[in-house]
Symmetry: D2
Subunit: 362 residues, 4 copies
């Protein structure tokens, strides 16, 4: 099932940029959870186009419809099918994409893999696919909030070389207080400036999103293949435009010596805790009760309002210059998507842990 994710709390997304719509089927959701379309919509509104002046001005309201799995305002434990209709389609804007492969896009690989593809708006490779992830992630978020005060919070840490300080305060209010979703106001301002600047050049930029999951119980994650951080890594690298993932000390930690890197344990108010958190909240693949902290690298947007060298479907060398409305930087809109994927991974592992290790008391 190439279009499904999760072992017990599973999402199956479907839909292309142009066509009947995009959607998701969420299977395995615990029953009895109060849920409304409005709660889903809040998260979708954080990822939709046109929400600020530094993202694509496309007008997509992305209104979610829950088609199944709820009764009298609560989940029933049966599949939750959610649908967002497509709108604002201008197929003519994509006529060139039928015959010319956009550089660093999926046109060429799709064409070769499948032989027959939907070129309009990138088809299945469109970022609209992430709508289903965000919708399902909103359900996961609610489960985590009700079940254990778990809070997942992502933000733009760096745009190109503009990086916020490590010790800046991070709250949802601060993150949502500006268009770029960086909680440090001063840095945010510089980032926004930079984004507007490159947009003016018909160019684009990338950067790094950091995410922290707070208040996790000890014990989530499996020892070998399905390590908590391994599943997070897969979740993040499954997002469009991502090129890297690191947890805790990450790549920078490789320059330290073991004596500098290890996290000593201490007894803090009767709990086993680490004095530092270079492990990033996971040890041996399993959460240790500290904050899980990871970062995701996003490349600069591939679509440029500049001429680029490429070839067409017949192999002729040519040039392509995008028209239309595009994001000069995907990171502000990717923040809720990163949170959604992290929440999906967390609920899935919570259920797995419960099934095997909290079922019988021998």
């Amino acid at each position: 099932m190439p279009n499904s994710f999760g072992k017990l709390f599973t999402i199956s997304t479907w839909g292309e940029s142009h066509g009947g719509g995009v959607g998701v089927v969420l299977d395995g959701c615990p029953p009895g959870l109060p849920l409304t379309e409005e709660e889903i919509q809040v998260e979708l509104d954080r990822r939709r186009p046109g929400q600020s002046d530094i993202v694509t001005p496309r007008k997509e309201s992305d209104t979610v419809h829950i088609l199944s799995g709820l009764y009298e305002g609560r989940t029933t434990g049966t599949p939750i099918s959610m649908l967002v209709h497509n709108k604002d389609q201008h197929p003519e804007a994509y006529s060139e994409m039928k015959t010319v492969f956009r550089p660093s896009h999926a046109d060429y690989t799709y064409q070769t893999k499948f032989g027959h593809r939907n070129p309009e708006g990138g088809g299945r490779s469109s970022a609209r696919e992430t709508i289903g992830r965000v919708a399902a992630g909103a359900v996961a978020k609610k489960i985590l909030a009700e079940a254990g005060q778990v809070e997942t919070i992502a933000y733009v840490k760096r745009i190109q070389d503009i990086e916020m300080p490590d010790d800046a305060e991070v709250t949802n209010a601060l993150i949502e207080s500006n268009a770029v979703r960086c909680p440090h106001a001063e840095t945010a301002e510089a980032m926004i400036e930079r984004i507007k600047d490159v947009r003016g050049q018909g160019d684009s930029v990338g950067g790094v999103i950091e995410c922290v999951i707070r208040n996790l119980p000890v014990g989530l994650g499996e020892p070998v293949f399905d390590r908590f951080e391994a599943d997070l890594a897969k979740a993040m690298l499954s997002l469009p435009a991502t090129k890297g993932f690191e947890v805790g000390s990450g790549f920078a930690g490789t320059t330290m010596k073991g004596s500098e890197h290890n996290d000593p344990f201490e007894n803090r108010d009767g709990e086993v805790r680490t004095q530092t958190n270079r492990s990033g909240g996971v040890q041996g693949g399993i959460t240790n009760g500290e904050d899980v902290r990871f970062r995701v690298a996003f490349k600069p947007t591939a679509t440029l309002l500049q001429a680029q060298a490429t070839v067409d479907v017949d192999g002729n060398e040519t040039e392509l210059k995008a028209r239309g409305r595009h994001d000069p930087c995907v990171l502000p809109r990717a923040v809720p998507i990163v949170e959604a994927m992290a929440n999906l991974v967390t609920v899935d592992h919570w259920m797995r842990q419960h099934a095997q290790n909290r079922l019988f008391a021998f």
Copy 2:
């Protein structure tokens, strides 16, 4: 199945550091492949302890036994069960580990997750678990070599701050010509010096392994969740001591502008190729025919011959100082493990691609 990996070409590893042995069941292997225990052993010998003077001097011959799935020297398409007996066990060397949690190890998280754990030699969290991966990876390697001249080659790119030049020649012979498995002789020498140095301090170091997969067909990988690089990321983060993964331009690429980062297409001798390879061989989650190139961050070994602050199973704060024989740097022995995981991912996706997209010609 927390101890299985792969959708169609699937491995299930089992076993602890101390006990009857470690092993793997490889399910889904195509039939008819010529295979010998010797071919498996070659790869196991690359990861075994005691192979050089910069790795742990433990004497483990790690001799593999193929128990099933072969007949008259060829695979039969049924499960291939491979077993390596445990030897050279000194349970007394681990007596402290029963009661004291080693910092930045899995002792505490295992204890809390499962309630009951095997503390000897780290139990299931021992690096011996990777024997099964390497054994199965050797089968994958042979399939890829026979089927399409695919070659997967990993090497130590950096130890702490000692990094080999990007343009150094990379061949298997160069990599295997020194103990640290860095193909650049001069850099290798400095790395070895550094490792011996920190070992003398009872300390440890980490670094970065780079891996390249050559001669892949276009079309491997699924568009959404099971992207080729997403499955590689999961595979790599599932290895002990890893903290990060990046493909192509990775984290460094996030500082570039789109116009600098995109890979222009060209027609090279009738084939669609990219002029540069910042994509790292994958576009939209699917291989594009260029080299797949990725890097994995390994933290410094957690086991130190120095006193470290920690707590015991009753919550008392205490100190722990490892005894015995340990790797001051895991990277040289991790090189064949990275290759093994990459080969497992590649064969799995090759089979998936074949099943869906090369089955019927409509």
Copy 3:
């Protein structure tokens, strides 16, 4: 994923009897297949209510909408999402079902399992769930027809004690020539008479559907757990109202001696064939090139227009008498559902066989 079926050719159904609709996401479909909504609709029309005077007179047009996965009339290899809106809902007809458990229905088990359920129209346990299976099965049917002239044909073999002769001719035209879908006209007439008779009593009947899959290649099915007949058995027992499955000689074959039961091989025009087919087309879990032949037992419909003893959600003993429009016999409408499930199993195993055993020629 409790609501998914299939390993490579996978369906995920969703939806309740009352609510936004019912649907299915089909993942893993090969690309390039010509497909229209009309082809899906043909099969849905065979299962819809109101199609004859011996099934429920409910008026449900069950019009299918393909929301994704097609481009210019061909599949793209991405998920095919299909939706059928719900109509003709009379929630008041189900008001009693909120509080009273219908005998031999799923009301009590759902209530206990999930704690919170949708009682309207049986919610997820409604036979409307099978719409998604039939829609996806229509795609599988087309693949099989185009790829290898495989033909799956089911029919009503027996209603209560009224059974058609074993040697009667079986064609699609004969099956569709009467309301009960029994290819033997004389038997069909008696069956229809019986069904009308019990309906007049407010009662119901069951029977046996037989299904044969013709022109299968040798080699489909896995040797151990995922035997072709084991996956058929699961597929059939996953249908509402089924109580049994048998393949080939089935239960009757258990009274024979081995010398009577074995199927001798012969060389027929250069092919290895069996002289008889008590194996039912599978040997060791794998198709042997003969017709796969199996039978499915359907119990009499549980919903009766008669008073029945039961209890309510508070544990009070009470009586329940269904109102409204119900099928006195589910078998005529179950025929296309049995075919759909058989086709889904077949395509799935075809892809699995191709992936492992037809990928590389060593």
Copy 4:
């Protein structure tokens, strides 16, 4: 993973009749369960050859070795690898099987599917494969006994036309009191007589095994595809020599009217119970607290000490007459295998139910 079974409590079996041995990896077992090799051995001894004078006289001790997953006599939650060495091999007894296809065996289908097969002793299609199932089933049995007094009990209900009375007492002691494992002494005697009789003719017989699972909680099983009875059906049809499965009223129930077949609910001592159990303990795919009762059809053994018409690998028509020691009737030894598979299904669904529906109390 064609050689794995179960979603959360998963077994992967491996091994052929001739070779290093047969075994199983059990993944997902809850930690802390006291377990010994002796407990496993008890069940293996019930299925081993040579245990009575009506089964094959082959001498196979089938001694189990637990290689991993235990520490100090308790499960650790990591994979339990169990191995039984092969012994008593007479490859020469199988020399003909290399070139001649045994009727109603898997020789021809394996050869065609895989191209390369192990013909010795039937290779992977040997009944020795079920050793791994029984070993893992013994763990499941222990979990169920400790967790909820669940008891799974199977017995030979019928051999050819010799059937025990429906109302006979059924206890483990009665079942184990005779060689054929039928709890009704008089019937057992007639069955044994019949088996000896056909063996004298070089022939074989089949029959029906019935199984009942007592004391199950309400709520196991998933509503749609993974119905409790659907997973049982798959489990049973995955056993060698099975041709049919029925639950509750089964095929016989199809002759009843709905008013005769439905199970009225009643309030029995404060619990919702059914007055009859034609549902067989499952309603809507979910256990309802009554005994789960099902029957499995086993065909007569295919191996006969009589000449049979067949063809060889080159397509020449020829005759084959088995030599050596064979079971004239597989049912007595299949009883513990049926129990094992039922217990595996039950534990798996128990864990699934716990994960989704007993995790959070909203």
